[in-house]
Amino acid sequence: MAHVVPIEAALRGIRLNSLPPLSLYVHLPWCARKCPYCDFNSHPTRLAIPETEYAQALVADLEQALPQIWGRRVYSIFFGGGTPSLFSAATIEFLLAAFRARLPLAPDVEVTLEANPGSAEAQKFEDYRAAGVNRLSIGIQSFNDRHLAALGRIHDSGEARRAIEIAQRHFDNYNLDLMYALPGQSVEEALADVRTAIATCAPHLSCYHLTLEPGTPFHENPPPVPDEDAAAEIHDAVVAELEASGYSHYEVSAYAKPGRLCRHNLNYWLFGDYLGIGAGAHSKLSFHDRIVREVRHRLPKTYIERAAAGDAVAERREVTRKELPFEFMLNALRLHEGFAVQHFTDCTGLPLAVIERPLREAEARGLIERTHTHIRPSARGRRYLNDLLELFLADD
């Protein structure tokens, strides 16, 4: 039979010559208590978590997804939540063994687990390491008890410090999450938090401007956060302090010591592929002629039932040719170094010409810097990233 160009693929106009790196995200949705600023899919529980059932659902979910990623190597695994550290090390070990048996993992695969600095959790750090986790991400948020209370956190600063010490004993690679522009926070207080974090010599820090996300209690009843100008003062001071302390500010909120960039997150920002398993997890998967997004069932109970029934995916849709440039930019322009022009074509299957107009506009407004091989946000573009991204939104 003669070779026929598939008409649908031609209309979609996406043609990928190679597939981007693949990561695995595992969502563990339970928390001891929901924080008032959190807009993730997390479910507070006082009862015992159905660990075994959930772990089996995850494995069933993965098995159903395998045909979509058949033969592809996995470069990073990330246990996110919720509070993954509520899970026992045994369950994590069971899961990692199950993944290893079903997926070709890269020899130096990065395996991150998000942990709360509570004392009960910190006791498990050693066992997580033994189970195969090689990177911890600890949700410190602040070292100031007043601010921790305002954020509704259940740990205090003493626990935070002890958790870091324990983590340091077992992990050479770890991240501390911090937040700033907290209710009633001064520039000095924010700097004190950052300096404490720097003094631990943590290989990686994530420092977030507290955002009052829609649908959260903080959005409904806003706490007295610093106003725009005060928050910007804090932001500028925090960034300057970190950059002067040997951290590379490689993404909007991410700071790393040399060689310690988070591979898993970097893959998101470089528009790589990821399979997300677990309740409410999102996936982005590329094929030679299309790019697909998936969402798993959101409620843990539903997810467990549906995964067992071979039907974990609640939504699946193809990303249209029109949406792709924005989705790529939404991620790639978060990186200080931006992206290689060739990378855009590799990941989207589109020629750079499709975004030539917004690129020119962005350049004219001083929001990006470009050479013929590379595009990156300017300092101004990083400051007004939303205005920059807006240029890449397709007109309806």
Binding site: H209, E228, H235, L330, R334, R365, R383, E390
Partner: protein, 603 residues
């Protein structure tokens, strides 16, 4: 079927009432009582047919209903109800409607008493020799105070109100008494069906099927289909195609004779050709003179209307053209603004008229508009002796060429309860008003002021309502053009003069206005990627300055593999918000900013 009535059994009447004193409900009752419509047809308040009118409770176009009423004397009378517009912007139309009547019902809310527009319209009626029959409506309300209302009518209007009919349009109480009073107290029309034709155009509107429809009152003579009509103000002739009455459904008739009210269709295509107040006569046997009172109405208030998106310009022109089909008083001509692009300078009878046009464009034609602050027409005397009319401050000639600027002055009549007199006087003084009269009428005070229209078009109505807690009512009429020390106030954004924001102010108020305006603009212009300087200037002299400080940052703190749709929506919302703004230089200016002057000191 259409039966002929001799003049003795015809009564032509209007209803004079303040907005929401119940005119429309009362008219509905009459129609219902006289069987003008079946129940199914009787949608509430049929006379106010436009949706917008119904929402605002005002009547813009006069409509009419010919009602057959069997009176207590056993005879059947033809009662022609001629509806009148109920707002100050339409006082000329009201005077023409009244000229077509022998009588008028003065409907007063028994709990609220007399209001300024009612008084003005009532005076017009009395001046024209129309018999005024007072009616106290809403008598069923617990707050009704008929004695006080009667005293007020007698005191303010100066007519005997002892026999005022107590009624409730809502419950139907007193409706028959009103109909009886119409028969008994309003005189039948005079006139001779055999005289040369004189028919007064009360109203005209455009109908998609038959062209212009004229509502007329025949004063003398008779009009039949196939007659060759002569419109006396223009000298144009047209063939009469059809005559008839509204019951309120339209019903063709073989003729309209002296004393009768009805419609005329004659294939006229433009509304301007059928002007309200004009006299129709017959070409081959014309009347000696037209009926008195015809006036050419000129727009008093102008504003620029611009499409938010430039590609909507043609759609806006089409929409305005369609609106004008039914609104001869609306004027528009193309205008270009450096800031707003291509749009139209539109002339309106007044502020309400402007509001209505704007709302209809937005609602019925789905237009997204930017409106500039309303302005009046100035007469500018140049040093070379020529006199020009300036409808747009941006077009004001260079001050060095101007000998004198004259602004329109109105005489405003304000009715206000005693408690608020002080506040209203303070307001009028701050608007450069000069008090001409002050009279106490029972609970109410009638204030007469001469005010520059320029001050009134901006925010006077809203302020008057707020300082009097909604109790003050206002009526005004144009008085004269008067020389005034006016200056053009310009607004500069990052050094660029924004033509659409220029306005005329009195020199004495310039400093204050300028400061207030730039302060308001600073609130309205969102922070952007750079500092935005907002300045007010007279000529090259900067009198006020504010800075919209640059946005410090605009970044999403977190973005991982999760939900892209939410982040996308957020940015789409941001983009849509900007799309609704106008770009002046590199600055995004929201639509509200072009009307900032209206919001100044509305604190």
């Amino acid at each position: 079927m259409a039966r002929a009535f001799d003049m003795q059994h015809i009564r032509n009447f209007s209803i004079i009432a303040h907005i929401d004193h119940g005119k429309s409900t009362l008219a509905d009752r009459f129609i219902q009582r006289c069987g003008g419509l079946t129940d199914r047809e009787m949608e509430s308040q049929v006379l106010d047919s436009m949706e917008l009118e119904r929402e605002r409770g005002i009547t813009i176009k006069a409509q009419t209903a010919a009602l057959q009423y069997k009176a207590r004397d056993g005879k059947v009378y033809l009662l022609n109800l001629i509806d009148t517009p109920g707002h100050v912007d339409f006082s000329y139309e009201v005077s023409r409607s009244l000229a077509a009547c022998e009588g008028a019902l003065l409907v007063v809310d028994a709990s609220q008493g007399v209001e300024a527009q009612t008084v003005a319209n009532c005076y017009t009626a009395i001046e024209q020799g129309v018999e005024v029959v007072p009616v106290l409506n809403k008598i069923d309300l617990p707050s009704a105070d008929p004695e006080a209302a009667i005293a007020e009518i007698e005191d303010v209007i100066g007519i005997d109100a002892k026999d005022a009919i107590r009624a409730s349009a809502k419950t139907g109480e007193g409706i028959d008494d009103i109909l009886e009073a119409i028969v008994a107290r309003i005189p039948p029309p005079k006139g001779d069906p055999d005289n040369p034709l004189q028919a007064l155009i009360i109203d005209s509107w455009f109908d998609n099927y038959v062209g212009v429809v004229m509502l007329v009152r025949v004063m003398e003579g008779t009009l039949r289909p196939k007659d060759k009509m002569l419109l006396m103000s223009t000298g144009a002739t047209h063939m009469c195609e059809q005559v008839g009455v509204f019951t309120p459904k339209s019903q063709a008739k073989p003729q309209l004779s002296a004393g009768e009210v009805g419609f005329v269709i004659s294939g006229i295509k433009e509304l301007e050709a059928a002007r309200v107040g004009d006299t129709i006569t017959l070409a081959d046997r014309p009347a000696a003179a037209p009926l008195p009172g015809f006036k050419e109405i000129k727009p008093q208030v102008f504003a620029g209307l611009y499409p938010v998106e430039a590609n909507q310009y043609d759609a806006l022109r089409d929409a305005l053209t369609k609106l004008k089909l039914n609104d001869a008083s609306l004027q528009f001509e193309p205008e270009t603004s450096q800031a707003l692009g291509f749009g139209f300078r539109c002339g309106f009878l007044g502020l309400l008229h402007m509001d209505i046009v704007q709302e209809r464009l937005e609602r019925e034609y789905d237009m997204d508009l930017i409106t500039t602050a309303p302005t009046v027409v100035y007469e500018v005397l140049l040093r070379d002796g020529t006199l020009m009319r300036v409808e747009n401050p941006a077009r004001m000639p260079d001050p060095s060429k101007i000998a004198e600027i004259r602004e329109p002055i109105i005489t405003a009549t304000i009715f206000v309860p005693q408690d608020y007199v002080g506040a209203v006087m303070t307001l009028c003084n701050s608007k450069r008003g000069v008090q001409r009269n002050m009279q106490y009428h029972g609970r109410q005070v009638m204030l007469t002021y001469e005010l520059p229209l320029n001050e009134v078009v901006l925010d006077f109505f809203d302020k008057l309502k707020s300082v009097s807690r909604g109790y003050a009512s206002l009526d005004y009429e144009f008085k004269e053009y008067r020389a005034a020390d006016m200056v053009k106030l310009d607004i500069l954004i990052n050094g660029d003069r924004v033509d659409a924001l220029s306005l005329m102010v009195h020199r004495a108020n310039a400093q204050y206005r300028g400061r207030e305006l730039v302060a308001k603009m600073r609130e309205l212009i969102p922070r952007q990627m750079f500092d935005v300087a907002v300045q007010a200037a007279i000529g090259s002299h900067i009198i006020a300055r504010e800075t919209v400080k640059a946005l410090r940052k605009n970044v999403l703190a977190k973005c991982y593999g999760g939900d892209v749709t939410r982040k996308k929506k957020l940015l789409e919302k941001q983009k849509a918000g900007k799309k609704r703004m106008k770009q002046v230089g590199s600055v995004e200016i929201p639509q509200e900013a072009f009307l900032a002057i209206l919001q100044v000191d509305n604190k």
